[in-house]
Symmetry: C2
């Protein structure tokens, strides 16, 4: 079936082929955004993109919420010669599981987006200019939460006249936003797909996320977040991204990617300043990503994630009370970041309140990253789920 | 049965009771130690202690090899009013699984022992004075390996006239030393117990261990290891110990220890510089340990662990070829550091060469730390194993 789609695409004229897959980043701006913790941000701008076409009654809209180190580029290419398409291109597009012939799919860059220095990302965060001072906010930027990311998305949807979502779907930190949509604005969300997700951050996961922030704060160039215009805290940022990458992976994948590994390598055996090849490989991956990333944004995304509790209420049960959406949970086997027990806890909490919820495990050797790289393994499950009747 | 032992102890006279449990740190010194990588250390001293009495033909000796952040204090107390006994006191002592009425049990501080500043630890490492310069070695100390730890222990045993070990038993990094004994000096080791162990460091684990070292190198006080006499790299060291502690634990334990955790705590919600209570708890645990720890020693122990391959040969199979000991493997369920697949790999490699090997899982909610805190769960397994016939 997938082969058939590829063949079909190959036989289309180049113009049509390009039209089907090319996407464009757009900009959404707001004045005077109030954060969940009660602070004001005078000006906000975020990037967004869309795939497919909105129907007349605006009833075919699917929102994709992105993961920690992702952005709104969920599918397609900006240019025909882009090396890679958006991260979920395997399931978003014409004829794919999230079929852009049927649905109008859109996605929005979060506040404090990790890749603040990627020219294709538009975001507002500690690296942005504070209009009150003319200088970057740094740590004066308010703490923002998953609810704030949702509220920016909601403002964009309002501006487009969209008041119902056929579905909201996201992986990892995107799953938190998706669940927050269904919890905070239940009358607007018909279906929810939480991929490699959680209902709340337990003590273990809050502590685990803190290790991602620690190396940045140790870097002498970090300077309490006031490094703009000076030396960047790249060493700390790289160590942080190396840890995030490892946490997102699994032994099978790392060992497979390093088939020549030998514990007794000569360089680390003879010199404490040198490292094993697998360390150089992992740090190299991290260093190549660090140039696009803002270190303070990483701290703010860690914090937004740590503060997550569905519905932002007193308990998980209270936060989920309003949920009306059908729910599909897609945890990944051997996920080291949002361990499958977190999805299990969410499922039990939903079942206890007689919500409509099902789940399926995403298989594969990549741990947490199965939710991105192996998403095609559950494509048909998502397709079928999206065709189920509207519960609202 | 354990109650019977306790009752028995309580009925002994105070003098006997003290004699049974009090231990003393001793010192062993060597000149001109040659490391595995071919370098020389002019003077070495390490601490050691023992429990029980050696028999006449010196055939009742059991060596305990310690874990990454441990030392030779495996059992007993230095003073009757010590807050806690040695780490494996639950299984080492009169009438216990490793019965000091029957065996002479000894344990030795490793080179570059983590707790270099604990007055009860005697070790030689980067914090020691280099006799050539009169100053601490820092990074001029040679890279040392698990084989070097074993060779120091072997020199001590030689000095005591001990040429056979009834058993060598160790958890975690201690399991690597125990296996190295059986691989490098097979004619000396009758039985081997590898607790929460591994046969070699795969690429995944080498990379995972590197994250323990990274925060220290980022601390501006670290100064490429030349911090002696100046500001100590305590912030980096604390972050490192916090990560090690979390890696050694499991969600069940951390969540159980933080029953009042709530993701939406006020302090981290309103101030990016503040943290969740669970983070303060974990960092507090780490900070309280940091005062005894030397940061460079931590880097050297990470490296010694990363370089591990049983027998230090070309392959695991070649390294294990000589093993004659009976082998008992005791992995912990849900161990996040030395994941159970590493024990499985070792078991398969031993079976392939028709070695005598069995295994049993240590249950409990503490992940890797089950190998320390829940060791009594496999006490009877160890006791029975030690009674099996000598295979040499």
């Amino acid at each position: 079936m997938r082969h058939a789609v590829i063949l079909l695409l190959l036989t289309l004229s180049p113009a049509l082929w390009a039209e089907a897959l090319l996407v464009e980043k757009q900009r959404f701006e707001m004045d005077n955004f109030q954060t969940f913790n009660g602070q004001q941000i005078r000006k906000i701008q975020v990037g967004w993109e869309s795939y497919g076409k909105m129907n007349k009654d605006k009833s075919n809209v699917i929102l994709i919420t992105h993961y920690f180190s992702g952005n709104s580029h969920a599918a397609g290419r900006y240019h025909p010669d882009d090396a890679a398409p958006g991260y979920w291109d395997a399931i978003i597009g014409p004829g794919k599981a999230i079929d852009t012939n049927e649905y109008y799919v859109l996605s929005v860059d979060t506040l404090a987006n990790l890749s603040a220095h990627d020219p294709k990302v538009i975001t507002t965060g500690p690296a942005s200019t504070n209009p009150d001072t003319g200088k970057p906010y740094g740590l004066d930027f308010p703490v923002v939460t998953i609810r704030d990311f949702v509220n920016v998305q909601k403002a964009l949807l309002d501006s487009l006249g969209i008041d119902k979502l056929h579905a909201v779907i996201g992986p990892s930190m995107g799953s938190l936003q998706a669940l927050e949509w269904a919890s905070a604005y239940p009358e607007r969300v018909e279906r929810l797909v939480s991929v490699i997700g959680a209902g709340r951050m337990d003590a273990w996961t809050v502590a685990a996320l803190e290790h991602w922030a620690a190396p940045i704060r140790l870097d002498p160039n970090w300077q309490q977040g006031r490094y703009y215009g000076g030396q960047l805290p790249l060493a700390g940022l790289t160590a942080s991204l190396a840890l995030i990458t490892q946490d997102a992976l699994h032994p099978d994948f790392v060992n497979g990617a390093n088939p020549d590994h030998h514990p007794l390598e000569q360089a680390p055996l003879t010199d404490i300043r040198q490292s094993h090849q697998v360390v150089n490989w992992l740090w190299g991956l991290a260093a190549s990503r660090a140039r696009m990333v803002d270190a303070n944004h990483l701290l703010y995304l860690v914090r937004a994630s740590q503060l997550y509790l569905a519905g932002m209420d007193k308990t998980l049960e209270q936060g989920l009370r309003g949920v009306r959406a059908r729910v599909l949970l897609l945890p990944a086997v051997e996920d080291q970041i949002l361990m499958p027990y977190l999805t299990e806890e969410l499922q039990q909490a939903l079942l206890k309140q007689q919500k409509s919820v099902t789940h399926k495990n995403i298989p594969g050797p990549m741990g947490h990253l199965n939710g991105l790289r192996n998403i095609d393994q559950v494509g048909e499950t998502i397709r079928t789920f999206l065709q189920q009747g509207n519960p609202l």
